[in-house]
């Protein structure tokens, strides 16, 4: 416990330097701005803003990215509530009850509940991250090449199993990713592979480039291709403060969502989407008035919203300790770390303690 406090103190001392705070704020603002754009969730947002962090020192860069992530996620919920356009899959559930609340003239309250649920879940899951990461990392330290290989296979298999859609197609996409990774100089023989005589390709295809193309451009083109399916923004946002009854209904859902989200977030591949759906189902199951769900029940908003935020936090656990990205966002984070010459994995905690704890505290 004392250790934990010491670590957190170190983290806060890093995170609270004025410049890091400024970067976190900047990241949040940028993230929210872009996340509010309908159809653009955290993944394209991070992909687009990734190059901006190149010049920052690693800690500041990652803090800013984390800020972008949270900003984008909250921005996504905002559009989900106001115009029923989820910015990302995990916000789909938010639409169900959140948008209904907005239609009932309680848009302000819905936004506030979403924000409070997210905040509570975020704080709780961060503590959990701080408490559980060191023991897990200690185990990971004993890993040799064989264990790392198995872990890598587990990560890839996890990606296949949890991918929605057909199995062979998921495997094909993983093979495609591996093949793209083949471009560049072969580590063993030093031969430049698939470079077509272009010197720039000898370093391999940059991660940010792939991310930009796959997540950024594809998303933009997809949005452009979908003509005119705009929804009017609900004209009245209404009072910002939820009334007492809404609070009473939302609070327990929020706690349950947090716990559920934290647990599911640790699983590789699961993350935010799974937990928000699971939480919605749970709330509906245990509610005394299940028929009110889908018509603007605060619990149906607070539960999933906290769950997906808790999961977003705890999904950093496998990434920072084992080096396995739990979802696309985490994969982008790995990319960001690699760009800053940091090998994600258990070494992060020992070789860059300021980075790890700085990141924890910044959340």
């Amino acid at each position: 416990m004392l250790d934990l406090l010491q670590h957190l103190a170190l983290g806060f001392s890093v995170a609270f330097t004025p410049e890091n705070l400024a970067y976190a704020l900047l990241g949040c603002i940028l993230g929210t701005l872009i996340g509010v754009l309908p159809g653009i969730g955290p993944v394209p947002t991070i992909a687009m803003l990734l190059p901006l962090t190149y010049i920052l020192p690693p800690t500041a860069g990652l803090i800013m990215l984390a800020g972008i992530y949270y900003g984008a996620q909250y921005g996504g919920s905002t559009t989900a509530i106001l115009v029923a356009l989820p910015g990302e899959t995990s916000a789909v559930v938010t639409v169900l009850d959140g948008h209904q609340m907005a239609k009932n003239g309680r848009a302000g309250a819905a936004l506030a509940i979403a924000a409070m649920g997210s905040f509570f879940a975020g704080c709780f899951a961060t503590l959990l991250l701080a408490a559980f990461a060191p023991p897990l990392a200690e185990v990971a330290f004993k890993f040799g090449p064989a264990e790392y290989f198995s872990l890598m296979v587990l990560g890839l298999v996890g990606a296949v199993v949890l991918a929605s859609g057909s199995l062979p197609k998921a495997i094909c996409m993983i093979l495609l990713g591996l093949l793209l990774g083949m471009v560049g100089t072969d580590v063993n023989s030093g031969v430049a592979r698939f470079d077509f005589g272009i010197p720039e390709l000898q370093d391999g295809i940059d991660f940010a480039v792939v991310a930009m193309g796959v997540f950024g451009l594809a998303e933009i083109m997809n949005n452009l291709a979908q003509k005119e399916n705009r929804v009017d923004i609900t004209d009245k946002i209404g009072a910002l403060y939820p009334n007492r009854q809404e609070l009473r209904e939302a609070a327990p859902a929020c706690i349950r969502g947090t716990l559920l989200g934290s647990a599911l977030g640790i699983l590789p591949g699961g993350g935010a989407v799974l937990s928000s759906f699971a939480s919605y189902t749970l709330e509906k199951k245990i509610s005394r008035q299940p028929q009110r769900f889908g018509k603007g029940h605060p619990a149906g908003l607070a539960g999933p919203e906290s769950a997906n935020n808790a999961a977003a936090q705890t999904s950093f656990i496998p990434l920072l300790t084992l080096g396995i990205p739990g979802n696309a966002v985490m994969a982008l984070m790995v990319g960001a770390m690699t760009i800053h010459n940091i090998q994600p994995g258990p070494q992060v905690m020992s070789s860059h303690p300021e980075l790890f704890w700085g990141q924890c505290a910044s959340m």
């Binding site: 901006l52 010049i55 057909s166 062979p168 197609k169 495997i171 094909c172 093979l175 495609l176 591996l178 093949l179 083949m182 072969d186 063993n188 023989s189 031969v191 592979r193 698939f194 451009l217 933009i220 083109m221 452009l224 291709a225 003509k227 005119e228």
Partner: protein, 181 residues
């Protein structure tokens, strides 16, 4: 034979094509043996696996019940061409025309892809983004790249052909777009 699942059919074919492409390319590298792999070994077998799996996906799409809702979405070639084309053109333009000319052109060309194209907004956005790029990359990061156009005589042959061609195509589209209103 009837295609039961359009999406699977085409994505399967795509995987086969990419796999075969990689097979052909990796064949030109030294294979080595399984215990001492050459640079071509790993990509070769990876690509073989991918082509095989792609073939399975394609074969599966021909069997079974017709799947619901499996039509391949309408492919918007205009948008694809405009967005990717302007980005490629930008890559060439930046070196020869410089940041201050290439960036506004990129923004205006890209905005042609939007259904709600408006010249005023496109120009405004172009100015804003150019200023932003100047602030962030030139002032802020101190990156070094050409800012103003270079004399045409110094351009590479590739640029001498593609840049005028690209600009002509884009201007024609722009004029048609404005008249079409």
């Amino acid at each position: 034979m009837q295609i039961k699942n359009q999406q699977d059919f085409w994505s399967g074919l795509m995987f086969v094509a990419i796999g075969l492409g990689f097979v052909i390319f990796s064949y030109s590298y030294d294979m080595g043996t399984p215990s001492r792999m050459g640079p071509g070994y790993f990509p070769f077998w990876l690509a073989v696996c991918m082509a095989l799996l792609g073939a399975i996906v394609t074969a599966n799409s021909l069997r079974g019940e017709p799947a619901e809702d499996s039509a391949v979405g309408h492919f918007d070639w205009d948008i694809l061409f405009l967005i990717i084309g302007s980005i490629c053109l930008y890559g060439i333009m930046l070196d020869h025309l410089g940041l201050y000319v290439a960036t506004p052109l990129l923004v205006i060309f890209c905005s042609l892809a939007s259904h709600e194209f408006s010249l005023t907004i496109a120009v405004g956005n172009a100015i804003f983004l150019t200023v932003f790029a100047w602030l962030a990359f030139v002032k802020g990061l101190g990156l070094i790249f050409p800012l103003w156009p270079q004399p045409i005589a110094e351009w590479s042959t590739l640029a001498q052909i593609t840049i005028p061609l690209g600009i002509v195509i884009a201007v024609v589209m722009l004029v048609r777009r404005i008249k079409g209103k």
